[in-house]
C-alpha cells in the first residue's frame, strides 16, 4: 500500500479578468468581460473570462459576447492581453516553485502540486497551503482557490467547491464523506448523458453511486463504470506529472488491405518502433513501458502493455518488447488478417533520471553501440530526410 500523498490543486479565480482589474484600478468592483469585441451587441465571439461581478449579472465565459453586452452594457469589455497574462502566470508559478518542483501545470492559471514528503521542510501541509495562497495574494495581488487532498481528483474538486477565494482540505479517510453529498456530475468523465443514465438508476449524488457494487457499475457502464466506482470512493492514483510532458508517444499504421503476411506486420511494427524511438530521443525521454495495439479485419481491437526491464529510447528495444506482446495476442496466433498495428512508448521519464538503478543480466549495457547508431541515423535523417537511410528490410516496402 502506497503511503498517503498530499496533493494541492491551485486555481486562480477569474484569472484574465482579475489581471485586468489588477492593472486597471478603475475596473475593480465592476463587471469585467475579457473576450471578443461586443460591437454594440452585434459581436459574434464569446467572452473568454468574466470577473465575479460579471458572473453576478448572469454573464459567463461561454456566452456570446453580443448577448453579454445586452445583459450588461455597463460592463467593461476588454480584449485579451495574453502576453501580460503569461507574465503574471510565471510569477504565480514561481511561488509554486518555492514549495515543490513537482508542479503539473494544467493551464496558464491552474496547476497540481505534489507536497508529499515536504512536511519536514515546509511544516504541516495545511499551513503550507495556506501560506502559498497568502503569498500569491501578497506578491502577485491575485486570489487563488486552493484544494488540498490525498489525490488529484479530490484536490481539484476541493479547490472548486468554495470558489472564489476557496480553501478546502480533504483529509485522508474523509474522502468518501467529502464526496457523498456532491452531484455525480462532479465525477471526472460523467457528462450530462452519463449523469442522466445514472439518475435513471437512482444515483443523483456521489454517495448514491458509492453504494453500488463495482461489478454492477461495470456491467452497465463498462470501463467508465470502473472509473466512477473508484472516483466515488475518492480513489485516484494518477501521479502529479511535472512539466506537462506527454504521457506516451505512439504511432500506428492502417494497412490499405488487411495484412495477411505476418512478416509485413512485423516490418511495419519495426518501422513504427523506430519512429517512436526517434521522437523519444528528440524529446530527451526514455520509455519504461510499451503498449501494442492490433486491430483485426473485423475491427476488433486489442491492446497489450508491458513494462520494460530497462528504460530505453532505442527502436530495437521497443520493437522487441512489442513483438513479445504480439505473440500473446490470440487473433495474431490464429493468423487473422491485420487491419491496423500500433505501438506506443509509455511510462516516459527524462533520460537523465533513468541512469542508475537496477542493471539487467541480459540487456546490453545501456548507452551501448545501438544507441550511438540510432543517434547517427537521427543526424542523417535531419540532414537528408527520413528516406535517405532506412533499414534494409524496409527498402522494398512502399510506405517504408
Amino acid at each position: 500500500m502506497a503511503r498517503p500523498r498530499t496533493i494541492l490543486h491551485v486555481d486562480m479565480d477569474a484569472f484574465y479578468a482579475s489581471v485586468e482589474q489588477l492593472d486597471r484600478p478603475e475596473c475593480r468592483g465592476r463587471p469585467v468581460v475579457v473576450g471578443a469585441d461586443p460591437r454594440g451587441g452585434r459581436g459574434r465571439g464569446v467572452g473568454a473570462a468574466c470577473s465575479y461581478e460579471a458572473r453576478a449579472v448572469g454573464i459567463h465565459s461561454a456566452l456570446p459576447i453580443g448577448r453579454a453586452w445586452q445583459r450588461c452594457p455597463d460592463a467593461v469589455f476588454l480584449r485579451p492581453r495574453m502576453d501580460r497574462y503569461a507574465e503574471i502566470s510565471r510569477r504565480v508559478f514561481a511561488v509554486f516553485g518555492r514549495y515543490t518542483d513537482r508542479v503539473e501545470p494544467l493551464s496558464i492559471d491552474e496547476a497540481f502540486l505534489d507536497l508529499t514528503g515536504t512536511e519536514r521542510l515546509l511544516g504541516p501541509a495545511r499551513a503550507a497551503a495556506r501560506r502559498l495562497k497568502d503569498e500569491i495574494r501578497r506578491e502577485v495581488g491575485l486570489v487563488a482557490s486552493v484544494g488540498l487532498a490525498p489525490n488529484k481528483f479530490l484536490a481539484k474538486v476541493a479547490s472548486d467547491l468554495d470558489k472564489p477565494d476557496g480553501f478546502v482540505v480533504v483529509r485522508p479517510g474523509e474522502e468518501a464523506a467529502f464526496l457523498a453529498p456532491l452531484p455525480v456530475r462532479r465525477l471526472w468523465g460523467v457528462g450530462p448523458r452519463t449523469a442522466a443514465a445514472l439518475e435513471r438508476l437512482g444515483m443523483r449524488s456521489v454517495g448514491d453511486l458509492a453504494r453500488w457494487r463495482r461489478d454492477d457499475l461495470r456491467a452497465r457502464f463498462g470501463e467508465l463504470g470502473d472509473r466512477v466506482w473508484a472516483l466515488s470512493r475518492g480513489i485516484d492514483d494518477r501521479p502529479v506529472e511535472p512539466g506537462g510532458a506527454p504521457r506516451s508517444v505512439g504511432a500506428e499504421h492502417t494497412f490499405e488491405e488487411d495484412a495477411t503476411d505476418p512478416d509485413a506486420v512485423r516490418r511495419t511494427l519495426l518501422r513504427l518502433a523506430d519512429k517512436v524511438a526517434a521522437r523519444l530521443r528528440r524529446a530527451g525521454r526514455v520509455a519504461g513501458g510499451v503498449t501494442l495495439k492490433l486491430r483485426d479485419g473485423r475491427f476488433r481491437t486489442v491492446t497489450r502493455a508491458a513494462r520494460l526491464a530497462a528504460p530505453t529510447d532505442v527502436g530495437a528495444d521497443l520493437y522487441a518488447a512489442a513483438l513479445g506482446l504480439l505473440g500473446a495476442v490470440p487473433s495474431w496466433r490464429t493468423g487473422r488478417p491485420v487491419r491496423l498495428v500500433g505501438i506506443a512508448a509509455t511510462r516516459l521519464a527524462p533520460r537523465t533520471a533513468a541512469a542508475g538503478g537496477q542493471l539487467d543480466l541480459f540487456a546490453p549495457a545501456p548507452d551501448g553501440r545501438r544507441r550511438a547508431v540510432a543517434l547517427a541515423v537521427d543526424r542523417v535523417h535531419d540532414r537528408f530526410g527520413s528516406r535517405a537511410l532506412r533499414r534494409a528490410v524496409h527498402v522494398a516496402d512502399e510506405d517504408g
Partner: protein, 372 residues
Amino acid sequence: MRIRIPQKTFSDVLTRAQAILDRKSPRPILEHVLLEAFEGSVRVSTTDLRVSLTQRVGAEIDQPGSVALPGRKLHEIIREMPKGDVVLEMKENRWVTLTAGKGEFHLPGSDPDEFPTMPSPPDRFLQLGTASFRTMLEKTLFASSNDESRMYLCGVYIRSLQNDAGEPVLRMVATDGHRLNLIDRPVDTEIDIFRDGMILPKKGLSELRSLLETEDDQFDIASGDGKVFTRFDGVDMALTLIDGTFPNYEQVVPPVSPNPLVVPREEFIQGLRRVSLLSDQDTHSVILEATGDEAIITAMNPMFGDAREVIEAPHDGEPIRIAFNAAYFLEALKSLDGEKVLVSVGESLAPCLVQSEADPRYLCVVMPMRID
C-alpha cells in the same frame, strides 16, 4: 445430472482448479470449470489454454451428465458450505442447484460443448522422483519473471544434460533478468523429453509444485505436441511450452571467486531485513561493503533516515563495494541451505554469485545496481 460429494473434497478440488482459471478472459467460458459426472466419479477441468488441469474425484453419481459452471463463484460457495455432503443437481436451462445443510444456491450453467477440448496425453509416461523435482521448482520458480513482454522469462527452463564431471543431471534455470537461479540434481540417466531444453510456464509449475507436496515417491511425466503432461494421484495437467529461446544463461553465471566472502547465512538474512527497512522504497537498494573480517550493509533514504549493520565475515580478496536490490538478495539467501554462504563479487557492475557452502550445485546470481 445429479451428484453427491463431500464438501471438503469438492472444496479442495475447486481450490486447485481456481488457480488455473483465467481471471480476465475475453472468453467467459475460460472462467468456468467443466464438471463431468461418470460412473462413480466426477471429472473437474479448468484451462487458460496454456495450462490445463483435470482432476478426478470419487462421488456418488445419481445421474451422469456434464455442465460448465462459473469457477470463482462455485468455489466461493462450496468453500463456505457446512461440512458434510453437497448435492449438485442440474435443472432446466442448465440452472444448477447446490444444496448442503439448510442452504440452497442456484447458479447458471453453460453448455459443456463450449468448453475447450482438453489436450490428450500421449500413451507413454516416464517416472520422476517427486522430492527432487519439487525442491528444484522451489529453488527456481520465484526468480522467474512476470513481465509478458519477455514471455521466455516467465517460466522455468528445464534441461537434461551431462555436467562437467560427465554425470547426467536435470537442470532448472529461472531468471527475471535481474537475478537468476540455477540448480542441478543428479538423475540415473538422461531424461529424453528434457534433452533439448524447454521453458515451462510459471503458473502451471507453481501448481505442479503444490501437487508434489505428497508422500508418493514418483510422478508421471510425458511430452508431445508442444506440451508437457503430468499425471499424479488422479490429477492430469498439461502445460504448453513457452515459445522462444531461453537466454544464454551460462555466460552470465560468474565463476566462483577464489576468495569469496564467507557470510553466516542467518545473520546476513536478519541484518539485511533490518537494514532494508530504510532502503529506498522504489529500488530497495542497499550497499554491501567488505574488507578484512567485516561485511557492512548500509541503506540510505533521504526521507526516512539511514541504517548500517556489521556482520563478521572473513574475506581475503580485494575490498568489495556493491549495491543491490535487498529483496533479490534476501530471496536468494532464504532459498539456500546450510549455515554459511559464499558470495563471489567481481567488478562493481558484474553479476554476483551467491551459493551455500553445503551445495555447490545450486547457484543464485544477482545483478547489482549502479552506485551513484
